[in-house]
Each structure stands twice: as structure tokens, then as C-alpha cells.
């Protein structure tokens, strides 16, 4: 072995096979998370060094097969075709061997040097399934490594197998799935016509199979290179044998059946599985929905019970920090303002919400990891249909209650582009922790005893409007289309702290990165805009803008200062409080005292309603634009929010005046 040699290994597998656990075990903290070039699909890479060999591990997106119907699957197969990794570790779930073998059949067809990592052998045993690794290996013709990733068993064997395979010390002579017998002839006829046109990196057998499957990418590619008369012959053959896709699928399942018959034995399967018992209750709407509400209530009370005291502690620390740095900044009004009010007061306040987010995301990651969130998605599916979505959008929405930024990114779990757009479109209507903080504070200052009821009413109203917005958007903006809902419900299992930790880490850093860059810039910019040129807000650019658009504030009961505070909320929702403090000249501390004297009940309601429905913070806007991938949807969503918030604010204000609030 030459020292310092680099190997490229791809980690592939279907969802729910413990792929990310293995990736974390192999790469530890050396991992880098980015995007696949030009795609909104996450790309994870990391390194694993052993005996002077550096193994670069690329985590391919989880996929059930390698068709061209989803971006994830296309990325995975293009990587194998174009990058030709030294080895492909295909993770499999031992308790659902058939399914994993289906993906293996596709990888083998690509002539990928596969190692079949048979994970969750313990779960399989519990379910009465035993797999003879030796016999499976013999049947498949590729190395099979049994693993229990959740207990860190099998990773060493996996690494040494990678080395053996890449050094050529292990034979790799896979048996391949063939198309079913009745279609072999058509396969050969197609091969006859097309063979001469297939050039590397594409393989003949794979290409023909894909043509038979009706794969849109390959069909398109071939139609451009094949001579028209030959292509017509291909088309005629395919038309005559419409069931070619089924022949390919059947061939795969025959091959799978052989593998299963050779290696798998089932013993007393009578035991009622934990999953069966839990699902019996949790997926029944009568029980499932109340339980879901209870679980969410618990998550929220836990989050705020533990997080808020810490948030307040951080806030006072931030204030002392401001007091501590102030003397060092000299007499410069501008420097002091930018650092203390802009940076610490703006971006700093946002950072104090970290503990709240941490507890929230930890609770959510826990629920995801044990398998509960898939059930929550299942019972919520019927409600989500009303707003043109399906159950899978429920998870991103839930994350939105913490922070909209990871929620928008969380919409990636949705495979259909349209449903992903609609989910992102609606996410800003989910009240995040920052909005809730503003609502709580202002409601407490204005409504006194009824503050709690008012806050709840506002949140409930917000969620109703989310439903309404979804209903409208799915009817008019995103034409109702057929949206297949197919989702695996993974088995319940013990939480894995490592996986949960990684998920929380990923979401928290997404938030910090935004807060540390965009919010910092905008906080400083906002401070400057509200002080240039005169050093006072009245004569500043922001003040002038606010005053010039004051007339539009009439119907919604807002004076120009409140309008400016709303504009400021675009930096970060929490900043609207600081802005009000500055505008009314009382600072953040005096805000509770001054608010009741300057804001009527009706105006306060209108202000809060608009704040909740208004354009989200810049951090959210940036990820929305990025995930929507273009201006069109982004701008329509922007306009939609402006109009909806204005109309709702006006309705609430006029209603409140009418009933004499």
C-alpha cells in the first residue's frame, strides 16, 4: 500500500437504514456539509484515515432506487457513472432485506464495486429473521458485512473490507439480475440496434435496461445520438412491449427471491412487535391526534420552561457586555451606536434565542429519530390535504415554530418540486420563537390581564390564516395536481444520541450562520439608516421613509413609528421591540411602560397581526430564495405576504374599533 493514497468511497442506501449513523461513525467531525453543485440537495463529505490511507467518503442522497424521477436518485447514479468511486458501501436494513436488495440490483448493473453493509442485524433477529452472511455473499458475489451501527459494531470490518476490495485482494464478481425470460429477446434486439451508440461512461447493459424502464433521461440522451431510422425501430419495439418496465422489475425480484431463499431463515415470528403495538394506537386518528397535540404541548412547555430562563440570562449577559465594551469605544457617537445598539442590540439579541432553539430542535430530533414524526405526518395527512399539501410537510412546519430558516431547508425532504415550493411558500406563516417573543411582550404591556388569552388568540388566528393561505395558494398559485403520498414508516427504535446530536448541530449552525452574517449586516445597516444623516431617527432615512408612507398606516391604525418598527422587524423579528424603544425614546427597558400610552388596543392588535404575517426576517428570505431557486416564486410569495398582512391588519383593526376594544 502506498502511503498517503486517497480512496473515494460512496455511501449509499435507502432511507431508514442507518446510513447517517454509519457516516457519522466513519467520519466523525471531519465532515463537511454543502450542496450538490446547482442542486438543493444536501451533500455530505468526510474523511476517514486508516493505516496511511485516506478515505474520502461521500454520502449519496438516500434513495429507494436509481431512476431519474427524483433529483436525489439522479445525483446518486450520476455520481457512480461519472466519478467512478473506488468502492460503494451500500447500506441495507437486514429486517427488510428484499427492499435493500432492489437498490443493490441497480448498483450492480452500473458495475459499481459494491460492499453490501447489512445493518440492523439485531433488529432483524428480534423480528425472527436470520440471514446467513456467507450464503448471501456467495449468491450475490459481493462482500457482505453484518453491522449494528447503533452499537458501533461492524465499522472496523467495513473499513478493512474497503481496503481489501480496493487493493484487489478480494474478488468482486457480482451476479446480476436479468430481465425476465419472456423479454430477453427484446433486450437483445434493442442491444443489437443501440450497442454501437453507447459510449463510456455508459454501459450497454445498464443503458438498455434503462431504455426498457422508460427512463426519461437516458431515453432523451439516446434519441439525440441514435440514427432516426434506428430510433424509430427502438420506439416501435418499446411500443409493442409496453410492459418492458415490469419485465425489468420482475427480473430484479426473481433475483432477489433467489438471494432471500439462499440466505434468509425465519424463526418463530409470533411475537407482537413493538411497532405493531404502538402503531395500533398512534396511527388511529381518534388517539393519534390527541396524542400528537399532547406531545407538541410537551415539547413547547419543555422548550420554553428550560430555554426562556437561559435566554433571559444570556440577555442580561449581553447587556453587561454592552456596558463593559462601551467605555472602550471612546466618544464617537457612530462607533458606539454601531457596536452597542446595532451589533449587540440587534444581532446579539437574536443570538440569545439559541437556548430556546436548542431545546426545541433537540426535542424534535428525538421524535424524528425514534420514528414518531413519520406517524405524526401520517395522522396529519388528511388535514394537510385541505391546504394542498400532504403529511410530509408537517415536519418542516413543526421546525418553523422554532426558526423558519431550518424549516425552509427542512422542506427538502419533500420529493415533488411543487409540493416543496408550496411548503416553503407557507413556512413564513408559522410563528417562530422570535415572533412569539414579540407577541408575548407587547401583549403583556398592552392587554394586562387578558394578555395570555390575546396571545393565544393571535397564535390560533395565525395558524388559521396559514390554513387559509395554503387553501388559496394551492387553488390559484399552484394548480391542484395529483400529488402521490408514499412514505415509509420506519420501525420505532431506541434514540441514538449521536444521530440526534448531529441533527441538532446541523440545524443550530444553520441558524447561527445566518445570524452571524446576514443579521449582523442588516442590524448595522438598520442602525445606520435610522441615524443618517442627522443622528436622530426623525430626520433619518428610515424615519423619512416611515413618515412618507404614514398615510397607508391610517386604515390599519399604525403611526409612522410603528410602521418603521415593522420595517425593522425584517432584520430579525425581535428587533421590532428595540426599534419601538428607540423610536419612542425610552430604550428597550422602558418599552413596557410607554406602550400603553402610545398604542391603543386596536392598534396593538393590528400591529401584532401584521408582524406575524408580514415579510419574514432577511435570514428566512435568503434561504427561501435559495431553496426556491428562482425569482418568480420568491417574488410572488413576497407580494402575497405583503397583501395578506395588510388586509388582515386592516380587518382586525376595523373590527376592534367596531366592537370598541
Amino acid at each position: 500500500m502506498t502511503a498517503g493514497k486517497d480512496l473515494l468511497v460512496a455511501l449509499a442506501g435507502q432511507p431508514n437504514v442507518g446510513k447517517s449513523t454509519v457516516f457519522n461513525l466513519l467520519t466523525g467531525l471531519s465532515q463537511h456539509v454543502g450542496n450538490w453543485p446547482g442542486k438543493t440537495v444536501e451533500k455530505k463529505e468526510g474523511f476517514c484515515s486508516t493505516n496511511g490511507t485516506r478515505i474520502k467518503i461521500v454520502d449519496l442522497p438516500g434513495s429507494y432506487s436509481l431512476t431519474a424521477y427524483s433529483e436525489e436518485e439522479r445525483i446518486a447514479r450520476d455520481f457512480i457513472i461519472n466519478e467512478r468511486p473506488d468502492a460503494v458501501v451500500l447500506m441495507a436494513n437486514a429486517s427488510a432485506l428484499e427492499r435493500s436488495l432492489y437498490l443493490l440490483a441497480e448498483f450492480l448493473l452500473l458495475k459499481a464495486p459494491v460492499i453490501f453493509a447489512l445493518n440492523m442485524t439485531d433488529v432483524a433477529e428480534q423480528q425472527g429473521i436470520r440471514i446467513d452472511v456467507g450464503l448471501l455473499e456467495k449468491y450475490l458475489g459481493v462482500p457482505v458485512i453484518p453491522m449494528i451501527a447503533s452499537k458501533n459494531r461492524g465499522t472496523k470490518a467495513l473499513i478493512s473490507e474497503i481496503l481489501l476490495l480496493t487493493e484487489g485482494k478480494k474478488e468482486n464478481r457480482p451476479s446480476l439480475a436479468e430481465v425476465s425470460d419472456d423479454h430477453k429477446e427484446i433486450f437483445l434486439e434493442l442491444a443489437d440496434i443501440l450497442e454501437q451508440y453507447i459510449t463510456p461512461p455508459y454501459l450497454t447493459k445498464w443503458t438498455i435496461t434503462k431504455i426498457m424502464e422508460g427512463d426519461p433521461d437516458i431515453t432523451e440522451k439516446m434519441s439525440r445520438t441514435v440514427r432516426p431510422d434506428s430510433w424509430n425501430k427502438v420506439q416501435a419495439l418499446l411500443r409493442k412491449h409496453e410492459d418492458s418496465l415490469l419485465a425489468v422489475v420482475k427480473g430484479r425480484y426473481d433475483w432477489i427471491e433467489g438471494a432471500v431463499r439462499a440466505s434468509l431463515s425465519e424463526f418463530k415470528r409470533g411475537q407482537i412487535l413493538l411497532t405493531d403495538r404502538l402503531d395500533h394506537v398512534l396511527t388511529r386518528p381518534v388517539f393519534g391526534i390527541p396524542i400528537l397535540l399532547g406531545v407538541l404541548a410537551l415539547v413547547f412547555s419543555l422548550t420554553y420552561g428550560l430555554g426562556l430562563p437561559l435566554q433571559q440570562l444570556l440577555e442580561s449577559l449581553m447587556n453587561s457586555l454592552a456596558g463593559w465594551v462601551e467605555p472602550f469605544l471612546g466618544k464617537s457617537f457612530w462607533l458606539r451606536g454601531i457596536i452597542v445598539d446595532g451589533l449587540l442590540g440587534g444581532a446579539g439579541t437574536v443570538m440569545t434565542f439559541l437556548p430556546v432553539l436548542f431545546f426545541f430542535f433537540a426535542a424534535m430530533a428525538f421524535l424524528e429519530d425514534v420514528g414518531y414524526m413519520a406517524r405524526a405526518a401520517f395522522v396529519m395527512d388528511r388535514f394537510m390535504h385541505v391546504i394542498g399539501l400532504h403529511g410530509k410537510s408537517f415536519l418542516p412546519f413543526c421546525l418553523g415554530f422554532g426558526c423558519n430558516v431550518p424549516a425552509v431547508m427542512g422542506a427538502r425532504i419533500l420529493e415533488s418540486g411543487r409540493i416543496r415550493f408550496l411548503t416553503i411558500f407557507l413556512t413564513p406563516f408559522v410563528p417562530c420563537t422570535a415572533k412569539l417573543a414579540v407577541v408575548t411582550l407587547i401583549a403583556a404591556a398592552i392587554f394586562g390581564k387578558t394578555a395570555l388569552i390575546m396571545s393565544w388568540a393571535l397564535v390560533a388566528g395565525n395558524i388559521l390564516i396559514l390554513g387559509f393561505a395554503g387553501f388559496i395558494a394551492s387553488k390559484f398559485l399552484f394548480k391542484k395536481q395529483h400529488m402521490p403520498f408514499i412514505m415509509e414508516l420506519p420501525f420505532y427504535h431506541k434514540p441514538n444520541p449521536r444521530t440526534i446530536g448531529m441533527v441538532v448541530w446541523k440545524r443550530i449552525t444553520a441558524f447561527i450562520r445566518k445570524a452571524g452574517t446576514i443579521i449582523v449586516i442588516f442590524s448595522v445597516l438598520l442602525w445606520l439608516l435610522s441615524h443618517i444623516p442627522g443622528g436622530h431617527i426623525e430626520g433619518s432615512i428610515l424615519g423619512l421613509v416611515g413618515q412618507s408612507i404614514e398615510p397607508i398606516g391610517g386604515p390599519i391604525g399604525l403611526d409612522w413609528k410603528m410602521i418603521v418598527a415593522l420595517l425593522a422587524s425584517v432584520t430579525a423579528k425581535e428587533n421590532s421591540i428595540a426599534a419601538l424603544g428607540v423610536l419612542y425614546g425610552v430604550g428597550e427597558e422602558g418599552i413596557r411602560g410607554i406602550l400603553p400610552t402610545v398604542m391603543s388596543h386596536a392598534s396593538a392588535l393590528s400591529f401584532l397581526v401584521i408582524l406575524m404575517l408580514f415579510v419574514p426576517c432577511v435570514a428566512t428570505l435568503v434561504v427561501m430564495k435559495q431553496e426556491m431557486g428562482g425569482w418568480r416564486w420568491f417574488l410572488s410569495s413576497f407580494l402575497f405576504m405583503l397583501v395578506l398582512s395588510y388586509v388582515s391588519g386592516m380587518a382586525v383593526y376595523q373590527f376592534a374599533l367596531m366592537v370598541g376594544l
Binding site: 432506487s65 427488510a96 432492489y102 422508460g214 422489475v249 420482475k250 401520517f378 395527512d381 388528511r382 415509509e488
Partner: protein, 87 residues
Amino acid sequence: MGGDLMPLILLKEGQEGIVHMVSGGLGLIGRLASLGITSGMRVKVVRNIGGPLIITTNGTRIAIGRGQAQKILIRRLAAGMVQAEIA
């Protein structure tokens, strides 16, 4: 052979069947096939009370929308003939 041909959606909870065919686009057929729902495979309905269905196949649980369940044609297995059909 025996057993009635019907869409999956008509199966009651606890009933099993053998997939006869899946109609629909190549995308849907391919997707379902990769999850083990294709001609000749045995599926069992675990939950079917309005809203999406839950079915099990090959040790995998899958939630599937009613629209998709309508497109899966199955041959229902009577309780007694389950073993015979598999063999």
C-alpha cells in the same frame, strides 16, 4: 388461482393480497416497485380508515395515499389460502 381482483383500497384492515398490477405513470410504477409493491408481491393492509393507508410488504411499513392505493390492483387472499398462494 382464485381470489377476487380489486383495488388495494378495498382491502380491509388485516387482509392480505398479491399485487396483480400497478397502473399509472412509469414514475409511480418504478417508485412502488422499489418499495416492494409490484406484480406478484404480497401486501397486507394494516390501517385503512379514511386518509392514507398503511400497508406492510417485505417487513417494510409504507403509508400510501388513497389515490395511489386505487391504482394498485390486487388479488385478495382469503385467510385460509395464504400459505397455498405463497408456495
